[in-house]
Symmetry: C2
Subunit: 304 residues, 2 copies
């Protein structure tokens, strides 16, 4: 565990309260990292659920009122809402407040949020790389972040003290915090996360269009490879729609490379070129070893 | 568990002895389903390992001599070897012997093996849909087949008694046996297994070509989707090369459909068409529920 002193915030406001927000709230409750948690969400149902779960002290449907007096505003809503959220909360932010987020693309945070923040408010874009295919406040759990990576993407104007605060917060949640250039973040995540999701969505969608009888059999024999894709393709539709729209350039770039590589394999299959297939399949096998080595510290139940 | 009487074979010969062969040998040893197991493989190393593991009574480098006197010949070598194996063993098969296999494509069994079998020898093509990314005789375990499906693809000339024997064998291993038309098998597996593997191989290969520095980061952040693909893309290269070559038509057909669907998603990303993305992602989420419902009997540790 980290030896960094634990951070403390008097008043925290969550904008959006799904898997990540509710999990972080659980960590803050558990470790006493704040005095008061206010939750803002678009539906009264989510607010009621947050209260019922004991994960907040107050709720507020209006984002502007929700952030009044908050030291930390953690935006956990889908990326597509960031512009509207920033416009709504901007005029209500307290001087010295820290605005952070958990979005899976980071360039758009500077584009959509930064212009609406008043002077003296600190923006720390963040991305805890953790998740399950479940969504909603009831799916959260404090251990979600344990031993995972959290990427922060400050720029040259970032306040070092605010950065330290957010770093300590995620360390308290058990994460390994990495600082990364914002463009580089969006490229790395396009290949490790966004492309795999787009591919998985696509292949599962192909299967859904083969008719009912075939689909029943696909379900039955899914253990042979298909099933791994269905877990990914069950991820939250709104969250993922927004990721693809907001990280469009990096996703299209890596998708172009993938297309080329798949075309090579397709041609090898069509031409009966076993040598090319064998060469590629041997190369990819080695990657598994690299992943296992890079994840030595991952807890037993999350091991690859 | 099944109430079918357990089958018994005096002499069993395995041609090829990797994950599936060694796992089945473990089942046969455990349940006393045969008197003698002879293993044939291409390398002396595999034969030595099979003996050392106590999984056979004799070994034989020559396939013709290996099948002498055997009641059951279980071909567990890669699909690409089937023609040569059949030519080698054909003249040595005992009348009444059953020849079966565990290959992932089944039309090629009729094409490659059937022509070389003498009259009075029974061919029962089979496909136990089970596996891990590990290969070799030391990776086998008797529980591999438990509660999984095994597909048998007899035709109108298949001997009912021989079919019953193989069915009982896989039931003894804990499998749910299904009878399927051979063409249909190859189509269903092309979508549930072969396409997912080709896609996974392709995406992991794309990642390997992005340079060392990027690759290190891909390993680090692989938990966000990529990692699921690396497990699949670590599957045995020779086995999978042969699957794609032997089930070429069905694979190319489903790959064509996948290409179309991916192009639709790519266009939606490029055009910022969030509505299409959301529609597809919502549809695919429902598939997960279908898979979970269809796998209610799957043991806890193998649950989706």
């Amino acid at each position: 565990m980290s030896t960094t002193p634990k951070p403390f915030f008097e008043r925290v406001c969550f904008i959006g309260f799904g898997l990540l927000g509710s999990s972080l709230a659980q960590v803050m409750r558990r470790d006493g990292l704040c005095d008061h948690i206010c939750v803002n969400a678009r539906s009264q149902e989510t607010l009621d659920k947050a209260l019922e779960l004991g994960l907040c002290d107050s709720t507020q449907l209006d984002p502007g009122q929700a952030v009044e007096g908050a030291d930390l505003i953690m935006i956990c809503s889908p990326l597509g809402s960031f512009g509207a959220v920033a416009r709504a909360i901007g005029p209500h932010l307290k001087p010295g407040a820290i605005v952070s987020d958990v979005g899976s693309a980071k360039k758009c945070v500077y584009r959509e949020i930064a212009p609406h923040l008043p002077d003296g408010v600190h923006l720390i874009p963040g991305h805890p790389v953790a998740g399950t295919e479940n969504s909603g406040p009831e799916s959260g759990f404090a251990e979600l972040f344990m031993d995972r990576y959290c990427i922060l993407t400050p720029d040259e104007n970032t306040d070092p003290q605010a950065l330290q605060q957010i770093q300590s917060l995620w360390q308290a949640a058990g994460m390994n915090v990495e600082i990364m250039n914002v463009d580089h973040h969006d490229q790395v995540l396009a290949i490790t996360s966004h492309l795999p999701h787009l591919i998985a969505y696509s292949i599962v969608d192909t299967a859904t269009q083969l008719g009912d009888e075939m689909q029943k059999e696909i379900f039955r024999y899914s253990a042979s490879g298909f099933r791994d894709f269905t877990r990914i393709a069950a991820s939250d539709p709104v969250m993922w729609r927004d990721i693809f729209l907001e990280n469009r350039d990096a996703v299209l770039d890596i998708l172009g490379r993938f297309d080329e590589d798949l075309t090579t394999l397709k041609r090898a299959v069509r031409q009966g070129d076993g040598e090319t297939l064998h060469k590629v399949f041997t190369r990819t096998r080695a990657v598994r070893r690299g992943i296992i080595d890079a994840n030595q510290h991952v807890p037993e139940d999350q091991k690859v």
